[in-house]
């Protein structure tokens, strides 16, 4: 009887110690380590996963559907829990996120290689091309100039890059299935529409030599038209190209469309 009681007590102790969390890996030495950080861009319209050819409603009783959805991301950097910021190497730090390159779940992967191992809490990136990169001239763009041309993300070199490209059709109470083309960018050096966005991670992103965390970023396309400001097709936002009034409104709306939904460490 006594023996049983002791066995019971011993078992209880064993369980309690087993289940307590040990924090002995806090003193991890990360210097010299690096790993991959994967950004998964996932386009949505409100709480719906974005799908080509689906008709979506917006304000002002207008609808749209898209057959082309692309945007340029650049100057990606991440900040760790000690306030240090890791800048991805500049010449590599420009990407085209294109819905047509998504996997079955509509996610577009951007893999950042050789990111310093650290505990990251925040990400910052730009939408489009900043004036400094543009000032490097056509030769300074490396292979990206050719890629952007192939992807239809350029006007002429003088006018520069299209930062975003939404092509499709729209309907309003008075017109049906008219062409929709929203191509926003900076216009040479005269109009700067480059914007940056900083997003906090809901959990710490642990980049290590042997683990590649994933950051799931949702881009809500409905915000392009119903964001900080409202852009109605009936008011001329069905064709947005280099207009000095319209493009800054689209740029401001796009700046607010990104959200880090969740992250994965493993």
């Amino acid at each position: 009887m006594k023996l049983l009681k002791y066995t019971f007590a011993l078992l209880a102790c064993a369980i309690l110690t087993n289940c307590s969390t040990d924090n002995d890996d806090n003193e991890e030495n990360l210097s010299g380590q690096s790993g991959d950080l994967i950004l998964k861009f996932d386009n949505s319209v409100g709480d719906q996963d974005f799908i080509f050819g689906t008709t979506y409603s917006k304000s002002n009783s207008e609808t749209f559907q898209l057959s082309n959805l692309k945007y340029i991301i650049s100057n990606v950097r991440v900040t760790d829990n000690e306030g240090n910021t890791f800048y991805y190497p500049e010449e590599e730090n420009v990407f085209i996120v294109s819905e047509s390159n998504g996997n079955n779940a509509g996610e577009i992967y951007v893999t950042l290689n050789d990111v310093d191992a650290a505990n990251y809490t925040q990400i910052t990136f730009g939408i489009g091309i900043d004036q400094d990169r543009f000032a490097l001239g056509a030769d300074g763009q490396g292979d990206f100039l050719e890629l952007a041309s192939e992807e239809g993300m350029m006007w002429s070199w003088a006018s520069g890059y299209k930062f975003v490209r939404f092509d499709g059709t729209f309907s309003t109470p008075s017109v049906t299935d008219e062409p929709l083309n929203v191509h926003m960018g900076s216009v040479g050096t005269s109009l700067d529409n480059y914007k940056e966005v900083t997003l906090n991670f809901p959990n710490t992103v642990l980049v290590r030599e042997d683990s590649s965390p994933e950051v799931h970023i949702v881009a809500d396309i409905s915000k392009v038209f119903d964001g900080v400001m409202t852009a109605n097709f009936a008011d001329g936002y069905d064709q947005v190209h280099t207009d000095a009034t319209e493009t800054p409104i689209i740029a401001t709306n796009i700046q607010s469309m990104f959200e880090v939904h969740h992250i994965h460490n493993d």
Binding site: M1, L4, T7, F8, L11, A12, A14, I15, L16, N18, C19, T21, N23, K40, F41, D42, S44, D47, Q48, D49, I51, I73, E91, E92, N93, V94, F95, I96, V97, S98, N101, G102, N103, N104, A105, E107, I108, Y109, V110, T111, Q141, G142, D143, F144, L147, P202, N203, T204, L206, E214, H216, V218, H261, H262, I263, H264, N265, D266
Partner: protein, 310 residues
């Protein structure tokens, strides 16, 4: 210059709200399923459990649904040590199937073995205190009421596969990979006509090798049964309520969003005792549930068992 590349696989590590391992295959040793027979007798037996779930494989309202079916066969037993102590043990075999976008995936193997040691306190009828009468009876008469305290452990005998943790539904595992502690308290009442079983259990979850720590869990169940005695058999139909409350899952000591939840089930069933054999069946339907940001829905569960009374 980089091109956003695009592995043409379904989303790896799909979403945080899908970490619900302890709800599914691995959880069949949970207290909300019960540890034994209605009459709290000692036994050794086999139990089969069928459960199905639907979970949203994605973060959007139009994300596709994955359907999971969990088949579990358990060797389970309640073995006495002496009048006050007994042990319950559970050795599960898991067979899990998931259907997602036309693909079928199957996983099977030994699950997580658990064992609980119990200390039972029986209550006896009060004797009439009459100083003039002499009590000749040597045995105390049981009142039918008893309470039990249990301490146990769930072992990581089921293989926790890291590659599956990267899947759409990381709950698709035969084991949690963690050592968990189980603390239980139960109350039983049984007469020859009716009975009540109530059980409360708390699970202290350990961290597994992937640095996941499933949320601590509180399980409860209560069953009310009646006894119809025949010459050769007893039939004991029962009605019950059971439920689980899950705390959030932690990874690297940080809480993951949308990983907590609760479920309340109503169940209906019966036991049939013939000689030393007890046959049982139990059908449960969720009455209310809010699991993991409502991305997981328990549909139903069904179990049948045959026990041999010791």
């Amino acid at each position: 210059m980089m091109y956003a590349h695009y592995p043409n696989t379904i989303c790896n590590n799909h979403n945080s709200e899908a970490w619900f391992c302890d709800l599914c295959g691995c959880s069949t040793s949970s207290g909300s399923f019960g540890y034994g027979t209605l009459s709290n007798t000692n036994f050794v037996g086999l139990r089969y459990i069928y459960q199905n779930f639907e979970s949203k494989a994605g973060i959007f309202s139009n994300s596709p649904i994955s359907k999971e079916t969990f088949n579990t066969v358990q060797l389970w037993a309640q073995v006495p040590i002496n009048d006050s102590f007994y042990v319950t043990a559970n050795v599960p075999y898991q067979d899990l199937t998931r259907k997602f976008e036309g693909e079928r995936e199957n996983l099977n193997g030994l699950g997580d073995i658990s064992a609980i040691g119990w200390y039972k306190i029986m209550f006896y009828k009060k004797k009439i205190t009459d100083s003039t009468a002499i009590d000749y009876s040597l045995t105390k008469e049981p009142s039918g009421h008893s309470i039990q305290f249990g301490i146990g452990v769930k072992l990581p005998t089921g293989t926790f596969e890291e590659r599956l943790a990267d899947n759409v539904n990381p709950g698709f595992q035969v084991g949690t990979g963690s050592v968990d502690g189980v603390f239980s308290v139960g109350y039983n009442y049984g007469s020859d006509r009716i009975g009540v079983n109530t059980l409360f259990s708390y699970y202290l979850k350990g961290e597994n090798k992937n640095n996941y720590q499933f949320g601590n869990q509180f399980s409860y169940s209560t069953n009310v049964y009646t006894v119809f005695s025949g010459e050769k058999m007893n039939v004991m139909p029962f009605l019950g309520l059971s439920g689980d409350v899950y705390n959030s899952i932690k990874q690297y000591d940080e809480t993951l969003q949308d990983t907590d939840g609760s479920i309340l089930n109503a169940s209906l069933g019966s036991e049939l005792a013939i000689d030393k054999f007890i046959f049982g069946a139990n059908y449960s339907l969720p009455v209310s549930q809010s699991l993991f940001g409502d991305n997981v829905k328990s549909k139903q569960r069904f179990s049948v068992y045959v026990n041999f009374a010791l």
